[in-house]
């Protein structure tokens, strides 16, 4: 960089494509690796994989069983080379009243009692003219002086403590809510008023016999038509006739509660702002490093705000995420604390209580669901129409609520085919703690309602629940209710057939007779979840593969492993192509991709996209946050494509040269060229070792690194690039005259490319042409789906007494079709973990409603019960992945395996007790009525 850039230039440049950002992800190592500074990943060799290319342990496992420093909470200033050793602490004081204005803090008393200084409120920050970190966020994270807090737990002030001793001394008072509130002066309370803010997001999907109402008026007409046809006759109680006498109408209301992701490591981190260089350094765990940094720069983009010339982010391995670290406010607060106390290291260390008060939650939901089923002999049991109206509680900040409600609506019809559908969804602001993109992303709420009602209808029609579902599956290649045509067959039928074969399901009636007693009722229920994976605006995926001179492969990606296993599965993707996995992995690496020289802005329409695409550096989106279900398919894609380029344009030419095959006779790689036990083989030629090949590649300045950017939105962007093969014969030294430049133009499913030759640095390869997905697909949403079926057996305490109504999970069998399984242990682990989390959602986890909810403070695990091993029937659960079709892509699966759990348990309870569950969490009190 030359001169100090202007603010505007700087913001533009601090997305990918400059040297401004430095992002470092902690990596795994058997030895050493306790220094946060620098990319210290050590070569593990390939001892962590077996001969078949499967991991024998998680790549990040050794560091975690050794207790090495990998999480944000592990680091101190003394661990960070060059950081100031003066370590101060910042504490966020939060609002506990929303019905009255915040007037002031009793600062002098706070200083005296707590020993904190300075104390910063919105008034102090006013000169900085803070800008909204994200377009849909409130401009300042803090409650304005004289204004009503928007939500419980909204920050009022930052309290600074000079050191750990001072902070520790204040902690008892900080944990004493009554004491703490005495320092906060509010105005007079006023009667509750409706939140003046508009909805955070609204969706409406209409489909009437294939007509999705392209014109707004047409859509309204179709919607009204569906409403009329589904008119409910209250005289018929649970079911009633409609205008269409052939249908039976079922209209029910469902509620799901807000829960906390309760990832094990409360958010925490360190920051340092150097007032001389204006560099901001941050160390913490996140799912969204790029968005965090963009948000910080936006926040501080006011004229009088402290200038930032560079941000260094050490991305630590998150101690859990589940969406709770995606666009969290924590990084914003850490950055603010750092610039407010420059030239010191500032730590913010949330306690669990702080995390409950401040951390992103799942959206609570209310869903009014109406289904129509045909009752004529000709079409008996055929679902005919659906109308759903879902309201999601977004809490006080629009943190992905606009997207969560939309994804929920897109997944509202699950696996089923409805000739008529009207799906409406809205996320609204409230005074609750902000809700975010927690695992399931709106689809958990949708599929709880759908799968419970589908099950109830089957029961009411005296149809087998699996047969009923089979009868109503979306046919292959038929558009979903949104109009989206799935990119592949959704193998729901295979999943349901497996359920039919499962012993738990087959024997459910006999088991119920045998296992139900005077004290306990036994029941078995099932649910089928289908969840799309991928992001509506498109999936942006970055990866590079770099081969060191001694042969070690380093894989870099901008995605973060939050426990979902991508640090293991992504390096494994190399095995089939390069004969070995990566030796080192760097996750959350953003600055590394600077050589791609990516450019924006976002296109506004097709004409704009076509115009922008002429710029060989332009891409529709430069980076995205890590979503759990995007690892297997989307994030793996650039890794595979980079490996293919290395193989075709570097390994193969080297092998050809070493084997003495003239380049003119073999430009394509023959299919007989195969890796066997780490050696590259070809009929009649001597096997080549990896190191031999790499040595040759370096000799001829061949490709030693490939860096790619890929973009998926219903299909992959296809770029055309001109690549050069550098070759020489093995018997002669690499003189210029020996090199044969072979230039080839190829089309690859990536949209940006940089190459590294020999020891040189990465250089961008300008795109010669590109086919981006049509702009219209922006509104279509994801088009890939994964099905998961779950059978659950429960026991419900029947006899009177304190345990009456208590529910116990006694067995479960899950069946997942997730395409090619990259690593069985990791997939099964996701299924097992989701089962536990689903039990918590269904039976255990709950908050008191505001004003006694988590935003009020004082919440911890003594009053928030998460599932323990004893809740999960460990020895009686079996999770199975179905065999994939040959060469089938892996499918995203981390969310769908959660979605089936609540309805399967609810349906099992219904089987046991006859009581239909429509509200979560299920309480013993609710069940008692049906048991007496």
């Amino acid at each position: 960089m030359g001169e100090q850039p202007s603010r505007r230039q700087f913001i533009k440049q601090t997305t990918l494509g400059t040297t401004v950002l430095v992002v470092i992800q902690q990596t795994s190592a058997w030895v050493g690796g306790d220094q946060a500074q620098g990319q210290h990943s050590k070569t593990l060799g390939n001892s962590w994989i077996d001969a078949h290319g499967k991991a024998v342990y998680r790549f990040d496992g050794p560091a975690k069983v050794l207790g090495s420093k990998v999480y944000g909470r592990d680091f101190r200033a003394k661990d960070l080379v060059g950081w100031p050793q003066t370590e101060g602490f910042a504490h966020i004081l939060r609002a506990t009243k929303c019905d009255r204005p915040f007037l002031r803090l009793n600062s002098s008393a706070l200083r005296d009692k707590l020993g904190c200084d300075p104390i910063i409120t919105s008034g102090d920050l006013a000169p900085w003219n803070l800008k909204a970190p994200l377009p849909y966020w409130t401009p300042s994270p803090f409650v304005s002086i004289g204004g009503h807090p928007l939500y419980f737990g909204q920050p009022l002030a930052i309290l600074f403590f000079r050191d750990l001793a001072a902070y520790r001394k204040a902690k008892p008072l900080l944990a004493d809510l009554n004491s703490l509130n005495s320092f906060v002066q509010y105005g007079a309370s006023s009667s509750p008023v409706a939140d003046p803010r508009p909805p955070f997001g609204t969706s409406k999907f209409v489909n009437y016999l294939g007509d999705t109402g392209a014109a707004a008026k047409n859509a309204d007409d179709l919607a009204n038509k569906i409403r009329q046809e589904l008119t409910f006759d209250p005289k018929k109680e649970s079911t009633g006739s409609s205008l269409n006498k052939n249908w039976r109408i079922y209209q029910r209301s469902f509620e799901t509660q807000s829960v906390d992701p309760m990832f094990m490591e409360p958010e925490c981190g360190l920051g340092w702002y150097d007032s001389k260089t204006k560099k901001l350094s941050l160390t913490y765990g996140t799912q969204s490093p790029q968005d965090d940094l963009d948000g910080i720069l936006s926040l501080l983009s006011g004229e009088n705000a402290p200038k930032i010339t560079k941000i260094q982010l050490n991305v630590c391995q998150p101690g859990g995420g589940f969406g709770g670290r995606d666009l969290s406010e924590f990084p914003i607060l850490l950055a603010l604390a750092s610039v407010l106390q420059p030239d010191t290291t500032q730590r913010i260390v949330y306690s669990r209580s702080d995390q409950f008060q401040a951390g992103l939650k799942r959206h609570a939901s209310q869903c009014a669901l109406t289904l129509a089923v045909n009752q004529t002999p000709e079409r008996f049991g055929k679902l005919e129409a659906i109308h759903s109206t879902t309201l999601l509680d977004g809490g006080g900040q629009n943190n992905y609520s606009f997207a969560v409600q939309n994804v929920g609506a897109r997944n509202m019809t699950g696996a089923y085919d409805f000739a008529r559908s009207l799906v409406e969804s809205e996320a609204r602001p409230s005074q609750s703690v902000p809700a975010g993109s927690m695992r399931g992303y709106g689809s958990l709420q949708a599929q709880f309602a759908l799968e419970c009602l589908v099950d109830e209808i089957a029961s009411d029609l005296k149809l087998d629940p699996v047969d009923f579902r089979l009868k109503n599956l979306v046919p292959d290649h038929k558009p979903m209710h949104t109009g989206v045509v799935p990119a592949h067959k959704i193998p729901s039928r295979r999943v349901l057939e497996k359920i039919q074969e499962s012993s738990l399901w087959k024997n459910r009636h006999n088991d119920q007779l045998q296992k139900s007693t005077a004290d306990k009722l036994y029941g078995v229920g099932m649910a089928l979840a289908v969840k799309s994976y991928g992001k509506s605006p498109g999936d942006t995926c970055l990866a590079s593969i770099t081969i060191a001179e001694e042969g070690a492969i380093t894989l870099s990606t901008h995605s973060v492993d939050m426990g979902n296993g991508t640090a293991t599965t992504l390096p494994l993707a190399l095995f089939d192509i390069l004969g070995r996995a990566a030796d080192a992995v760097i996750m959350g690496d953003t600055d590394h991709f600077t050589p791609l020289s990516l450019e924006g802005p976002k296109a506004k329409d097709q004409i704009d996209q076509d115009r922008l695409a002429k710029n060989p550096r332009w891409v529709p989106s430069r980076s995205m946050s890590t979503a759990a279900s995007a690892g297997a398919y989307q994030m793996r894609h650039p890794v595979v494509e980079a490996a293919k380029i290395i193989f075709q344009f570097s390994i193969w030419p080297a092998a050809r040269a070493l084997w003495g095959i003239p380049s003119s006779t073999q430009t394509e790689v023959p299919k007989e060229v195969l890796w066997k036990k780490g050696l590259l083989t070809y009929q009649g030629y001597r096997p080549l070792t990896w190191n031999e090949l790499v040595k040759h590649i370096y000799k001829v300045d061949g490709i030693t690194g490939v860096m790619v950017h890929s973009f998926y939105r219903s299909q992959w962007a296809q770029g055309t690039f001109s690549l050069v093969m550098a070759e020489s014969t093995p018997s002669s030294p690499p003189k210029d005259s020996d090199k044969t430049a072979k230039q080839r133009s190829i089309q690859i499913p990536i949209d940006a490319l940089a190459l590294k030759n020999g020891k040189h640095s990465y250089q961008v390869v300008d795109r010669q042409g590109v086919e981006f997905p049509p702009f219209a697909t922006l509104m279509q949403g994801a088009n890939r789906y994964t099905p998961y079926g779950l059978v659950v057996a429960v026991e419900v305490q029947r006899s009177a007494g304190p345990q009456q109504g208590a529910i116990k999970i006694v067995a479960a069998e899950g069946y997942l079709e997730c395409g090619t399984v990259i690593q069985q242990d990791i997939v099964e682990g996701q299924m097992e973990g989701a089962f536990a989390m689903g039990i918590g959602q269904t039976l255990l986890e709950d908050f008191a409603p505001a004003p006694d909810g988590p935003g009020q403070g004082g919440w911890n695990l003594h009053r928030y019960q998460v599932p323990l091993a004893r809740h999960c029937a460990l020895s009686q659960t079996k999770f199975t992945t179905l065999n994939a079709e040959p060469n089938e892509d892996p499918k995203g699966m981390a969310e769908v395996v959660l979605n089936a759990v609540p309805p399967a348990i609810a349906n099992a309870i219904a089987h046991a007790t006859g009581s239909r569950i429509r509200k979560l969490p299920v309480s013993a009190e609710d069940l008692k009525k049906g048991l007496l």
């Binding site: 050794p62 420093k69 990998v70 682990g829 323990l868 659960t877």
Partner: protein, 182 residues
Amino acid sequence: MTTTVLSTSVPITITVNGKVNHIQISPDLTVAELLQEELGLSGTKVCCGMGVCKACTVAFQRPGARRLDRIQACITPASVVEGGSITTVEGLASSPTQEALHPLQSAFLRHFSFQCGYSAPGFLMGAYILIDSLKAQPISKHQVDQVIEEHLGDHICRCSGYKRYHQAIKEVILATPGATRT
């Protein structure tokens, strides 16, 4: 041997992972704070800070005692461990190499027991203490599942669903000489 002087002053002597430390500490310092802030051992994890989740479990050997006790480092005052010996996750392996891992560490890796891994040190130490107690009072093989539940059933993990933790621990117990009887 390390000596650290803090601003407030209660002298204690504590052995951590075989290393003797003479330290002056604040009287209300917890074992977790002692380990993390004073000794730089961050392997012991704090999650709830109130002894519920068991992520902070460490093994404690009282002076003169033969067997290990479990303590929750987040709520136990450091003064309580005066004169004793603590083993943390950092002390399980004799060296940070694959070959030198404790059998529990190897089993956790082999079974893919954890995901984010934040609860792993607590499970490791809880199982370590359990195996120590089983060596003194072996159990029947058919009791292993029940004993794991009794001793580790309150440990919280949010990612894994517990199954693979229990499988790994069971495998190590069954393979540990003297922990079970036929």
